[in-house]
């Protein structure tokens, strides 16, 4: 009887631990995503052409791409389209704004946690107003309905990003996920 009691207690404790850990899983996964290097962007301009990427342009792109991810993550998490203007323009801005609008209507939101980005500039236009880059990163995406996590996944993803010079700033005009080959 004593053994039985003891094993029941152990099962209950174990179950409790599993439940606690399971509920903490998203946080743990996020903690993993936030490991050192998360969200850092390293841009390589090797092979970029036809125009050579100036040092100031490279720094500006690094800064703006970091801001783009940060703003997009915050905008989709909090459903705030006003955060988009600083880093997005044109169809990309419209696309994200539409998604936020739909999220607001359905009461859903999306959480992103991006890992380190390996970015290669693949094209820099001759007159210096458009720049294309290819980014490979690992992201964790969670779909939430209210506060309930509907789906969570972590994928390695490649993006094709086009930056254009708007007034005095580089902004993301196209950011398209590419199928993994």
């Amino acid at each position: 009887m004593a053994i039985h009691k003891s094993s029941t207690r152990s099962t209950v404790i174990l179950l409790a631990i599993v439940i606690v850990l399971a509920s903490a899983a998203p946080s743990i996964l996020r903690a993993f995503a936030d490991e050192p290097g998360a969200g850092t962007i390293q841009i390589s301009t090797t092979g970029a052409g036809p125009r050579e990427v100036e040092e100031t342009t490279q720094k500006a792109i690094e800064r703006q791409y970091t801001a783009a991810w940060k703003n997009m993550t915050a905008a989709l998490k909090d459903n705030r389209a006003d955060l988009l203007d600083a880093a997005f323009v044109g169809s990309m801005r419209d696309q994200l704004a539409r998604r936020i609008e739909q999220q607001k209507k359905s009461g859903t939101s999306t959480r992103y946690a991006d890992g380190a980005h390996q970015v290669n500039v693949v094209f820099y236009s001759p007159e210096g107003t458009a720049l294309e880059l290819r980014d490979t990163t690992e992201i964790e995406q969670q779909t939430l309905d209210g506060s309930k996590v509907i789906h969570s996944e972590k994928v390695r993803q490649q993006y094709l990003v086009i930056f254009t010079l708007v007034e005095d700033r580089w902004k993301v005009r196209i950011m398209q996920a590419l199928p993994t080959s």
Partner: protein
């Protein structure tokens, strides 16, 4: 206590009297040539033209209208938006009933302070000193209105649609800095140079200069401000000067010049000719570049601005100076101008070039 009241009233009157005498002493008095001239300019300063004209010795050619135009300006010239700020007088010659005086006038104008040195003759007229007014030199006949047939560039702006990616826009005109020189002057660093519009459309240019130290860090940043002609027609050259106060050339490793240019609407008129340019010494012994401005078109120029570029033997720009002309340019009428030249450079100047910039009150 009536006595007390009387004392207080008397005291008040004495104080008012003291204050009034103090203020009044700055006003009309013509007992000496110098005070007469001071009083005259006090009236000019207050724009009391009648009182000022009353201090002028009547004579041929002295008309009140031209007197007011001479001192108060007309045709929306710089003088019309100037106020006399300060006057310093000096007796040049005194003999009995006649005196020659020099007045150094400081005007506060819309473009900053302007200094003017003017000589006057005063005569004693029954105990009161009067100013012998020299009417301004009359031009040959009235202004000739000429039709303006020069072309004008207009920039048609695209409607501000939100996304204009890929839509063809007109680029700003190509501007090129054709010379640049950094010198040390009066405890500061000055960047001099010339910029040309190489394009076929007019452009608006501003020059920003940043001084960099040996580590490439910015030490100071300044712009050409009004030491440039901002609107340049095709192939037009303008000098520029950027002044950095309290800097040493030895601390400067390099200079970053960033011209900003945009396409702007502009008119090819007016064309201003610069005649009889010559370097002279003024009465104080200072080197001055003088000349006359004449508009060749039919348009009036309200405020002309003269920029002078001085070159040395090798063709290098060694100084840029400027000056505003306080008279308006009427068609075909010559208006004199004078621009300072640094005395220490006068000997090195081998060549110079005058650029005329202008502001018209009806310019859009």
């Amino acid at each position: 206590m009536r006595l007390g009241s009387i004392v207080m009233i008397v005291l008040l009157l004495v104080l008012i009297g003291a204050g009034t005498v103090q203020t009044k002493s700055l006003h009309i008095s013509a007992n000496t040539p110098e005070t007469a001239l001071q009083s005259f300019f006090a009236q000019v300063k207050a724009k009391h033209w009648d009182d000022a004209f009353a201090m002028v010795q009547p004579g041929s050619g002295v008309e009140k209208e031209s007197f007011i135009k001479d001192l108060g300006g007309n045709n929306e010239s710089l003088k019309t938006i100037s106020a006399l700020q300060d006057v310093k007088t000096k007796i040049l010659r005194e003999s009995g009933n006649e005196s020659d005086l020099r007045a150094d006038l400081q005007w506060s104008t819309a473009v900053g302070a302007l200094h003017e040195s003017r000589d006057f003759k005063l005569v004693n007229d029954e105990g009161q000193w009067k100013i012998v007014w020299t009417p301004p030199a009359k031009n040959d006949g009235p202004p000739k209105p000429l039709p303006t047939t020069y072309l004008r560039w207009d920039v048609v702006q695209r409607g501000s649609s939100r996304d204009e990616w890929g839509v063809q826009n007109v680029e700003p005109p190509r501007m090129r800095i054709i010379s640049m020189n950094a010198i040390e002057y009066q405890g500061g660093v000055t960047i001099l140079g010339e910029v040309v519009n190489e394009d076929t459309v007019p452009g608006f240019v501003t020059i920003n200069a940043i001084l960099l130290d040996k580590d490439g860090n910015s030490i100071a940043e300044e712009s050409s401000f009004d030491k440039i002609s901002h609107t340049l027609l095709p192939k037009e050259i303008s000098p520029f000067r950027v002044d950095f106060a309290n800097r040493k050339l030895a601390d400067v490793k390099s200079v970053r010049i960033s011209p900003t240019n945009i396409l702007v609407p502009a008119a090819a008129d007016p064309v201003v000719g610069v005649f009889n340019q010559r370097i002279e010494k003024d009465p104080n012994g200072k080197s001055i570049l003088r000349g006359e401005l004449v508009t060749q078109g039919g348009q009036t120029v309200n405020i002309p601005h003269v920029l002078a570029t001085f070159y040395d033997q090798s063709g290098k720009v060694i100084w840029v100076s400027d000056g505003y002309v306080d008279k308006a340019l009427l068609p075909q009428q010559a208006v004199p101008f004078a621009v300072d030249l640094r005395d220490d450079l006068a000997g090195q100047v081998q060549n110079y070039r005058i650029t005329v910039n202008y502001y018209n009150s009806n310019r859009s």
